[in-house]
């Protein structure tokens, strides 16, 4: 028995074990996503409503001048498409955080947290899994948008991928950080009102920042400080094969900061320790 114990109690993990764990978490997230078809449909319907109804209505009201990365006048639908892609990821990130709160309340989260692999790695895997799901949603949106004459250059579908990965990680990490502070599922409604809506509307998703500046210089600065604005701009530029370096730096730094915050919050000696056992347990 002692030899078995020595083998099982070895320190460290092989590369294959790390990859197996990552695959398992992504696979489980994908399975959950497939089982929740309504989640996929609602994730698509939301941006499509904005695209088909809101954008059509505002097309004549909001004129768009020639601004980078665009090299000519564009339709309003074309302008808001990157913002709607980022919106899909924003909602997905918050949905993941909702799922983590649910898992914690229902106990499933414990299965993850008692794994012997390092906790930071488990959270990172969870983040990657959420981002992978968001990519499926965004590309499904792009496919439908193509039929609506929103057709970036073909290479754009490829060059936008790294930007989507990075913005997905940032928004997922933000969701994870928020989930660590939510004690009950019911509190999630506050996330909608205090995180999702302010982030989305105080950004360049629906209107260019120079227009915002004309209306309210203060709001312009708020938008500039909003990491979601930079996620939108990163995606917008990448969709046309270009790089917005400032946005790249901001999104990169915010991803790291949110991730470190989430790892800190889920450390057993910090975040979770302040809570009692799960409901009914003592």
């Amino acid at each position: 028995m002692s030899s078995t114990i020595a083998r099982q109690g070895r320190s460290g993990f092989s590369f294959a074990e790390y990859i197996t764990c990552l695959n398992g978490i992504v696979w489980r997230e994908a399975l959950r996503f497939v089982h929740q078809r309504e989640r996929f449909v609602s994730a698509l319907v939301r941006p499509l409503v904005w695209l088909f109804i809101f954008a059509a209505g505002f097309r004549q009201v909001l004129g768009i001048s020639i601004i980078p990365p665009y090299e000519t006048y564009i339709l309003y639908e074309v302008y808001i498409a990157p913002g709607l892609m980022a919106m899909i990821q924003l909602f997905n990130g918050m949905q993941s955080s909702l799922s983590m709160v649910y898992d914690r309340e229902m106990g499933n989260m414990r299965t993850l947290l008692v794994s012997p692999l390092p906790r930071w790695y488990l959270l990172f895997c969870k983040l990657v899994a959420g981002t992978a799901v968001s990519l499926l949603q965004v590309y499904a949106f792009l496919l439908i948008a193509w039929f609506w004459d929103i057709a970036p250059p073909p290479i754009g579908y490829l060059t936008v991928l790294p930007a989507l990965v990075l913005s997905g990680l940032m928004l997922g990490a933000l969701g994870m950080l928020i989930s660590s502070g939510i004690k009950q599922l019911e509190n999630f409604a506050g996330v909608m009102n205090f995180v999702i809506f302010p982030m989305f509307f105080a950004s360049s998703a629906l209107y260019p920042l120079w227009k915002v500046q004309e209306g309210s210089p203060l709001l312009y600065y708020v938008c500039q400080l909003n990491p979601f604005t930079h996620a939108v701009e990163l995606i917008r530029f990448a969709l046309y094969g270009k790089v917005n370096w400032i946005s790249l730096a901001v999104v990169g730094c915010c991803t790291a900061a949110f991730m470190i915050g989430a790892i800190y919050a889920y450390d057993p000696s910090r975040g979770l320790i302040r809570r009692g056992p799960a409901g009914g347990e003592t």
């Binding site: 028995m1 002692s2 078995t4 114990i5 020595a6 099982q8 109690g9 070895r10 320190s11 460290g12 993990f13 092989s14 294959a16 074990e17 790390y18 197996t20 764990c21 695959n23 398992g24 978490i25 696979w27 489980r28 399975l31 959950r32 089982h35 929740q36 229902m106 106990g107 499933n108 414990r110 299965t111 993850l112 947290l113 008692v114 794994s115 012997p116 692999l117 390092p118 488990l122 450390d267 057993p268 000696s269 910090r270 979770l272 320790i273 009692g276 056992p277 799960a278 409901g279 009914g280 347990e281 003592t282």
Partner: protein
């Protein structure tokens, strides 16, 4: 092992046995562990050991601190005071090594109801770095052992309460741990399902040499040959073989021994869990 009763809430002395000799290393060693939720003290200087290939019952009323203790052993909570070792590995300093050797069944259900029986097992295997091929072999093995092979492809939400519990135990054993923690694993089950699960876990001790810590508040789940830890209001009142504890308490059975010990410990100023 001799029983050590501390009817006036006296804490057990810390376990001072050598920790790294496989011949004597306890499966679980808890030394001087205390834990508070703010000003509310859930555990006070808790110390006891669980030997390999033994069945140790952790007996306590609701609110005794059993689940808090489990959360500390599984590293869901950080340790505020004291030390916890699993086969000599400090859970705070070497959590990966310790958690590899640990299987756990929590009081609340932790299965994913939307996934199938096999998918739940494969997910757990992945969290322990076990490759898919090996995981499938092990899944088939454990499902056959617990009589759920014919439900492998079915959704977990379609299982009965007893079947879910058996599945959780099977899942906890998938990575072949040497120590199994079960927190009130029979709560909400009928008499037959309770007996089946208890027998199954006792078989694991005798046939596979697994050390088991079985948290319960039910006296009839404890056998005369078991080791017993009585936890009351966050303190260990007694630790040792059931027979010794009963004899030392001057009682004729575990029920009356428990009543005597906990009655003696009732104190308005004592900690709550």
């Amino acid at each position: 092992m001799t029983a050590t009763n501390a009817p006036v809430a006296g804490p057990m002395p810390p376990d001072t046995r050598p920790r790294h000799d496989p011949a004597v290393t306890p499966a679980l060693s808890i030394g001087g562990v205390s834990h508070s939720y703010g000003t509310r003290r859930a555990l006070v200087d808790v110390s006891f050991t669980v030997a390999p290939a033994s069945f140790t019952a952790l007996l306590g009323l609701n609110g005794a601190g059993k689940s808090t203790l489990f959360a500390l052993v599984t590293r869901l909570f950080g340790i505020q005071a004291g030390r916890i070792h699993i086969f000599g590995h400090d859970i705070g300093l070497a959590p990966s090594e310790a958690l590899r050797l640990l299987g756990v069944v929590f009081q609340s259900r932790t299965l994913d109801l939307d996934l199938t029986v096999t998918q739940n097992l494969l997910y757990h295997a992945a969290l322990h770095g076990i490759g898919k091929r090996e995981a499938r072999v092990r899944s088939d093995e454990v499902l056959a052992r617990i009589g759920l092979a014919d439900r492998a492809g079915g959704r977990v939400r379609d299982l009965s309460g007893g079947q879910m519990r058996r599945l959780e135990i099977a899942r906890a054993l998938l990575h072949r741990p040497r120590l199994l923690l079960l927190d009130e694993a029979t709560v909400g089950l009928d008499v037959k399902a309770r007996a089946d699960i208890l027998n199954h876990v006792r078989q694991l001790v005798t046939e596979q040499g697994i050390g088991v810590l079985w948290a319960t508040h039910l006296f009839d789940e404890i056998m005369p040959g078991d080791d017993l830890v009585i936890l009351h209001q966050g303190r260990v009142l007694a630790h040792g073989p059931v027979g010794d504890i009963v004899a030392d308490a001057g009682a004729h059975d575990i029920n009356s021994a428990f009543m005597r010990l906990t009655g003696a410990a009732v104190d308005p100023g004592s900690p709550a869990s």
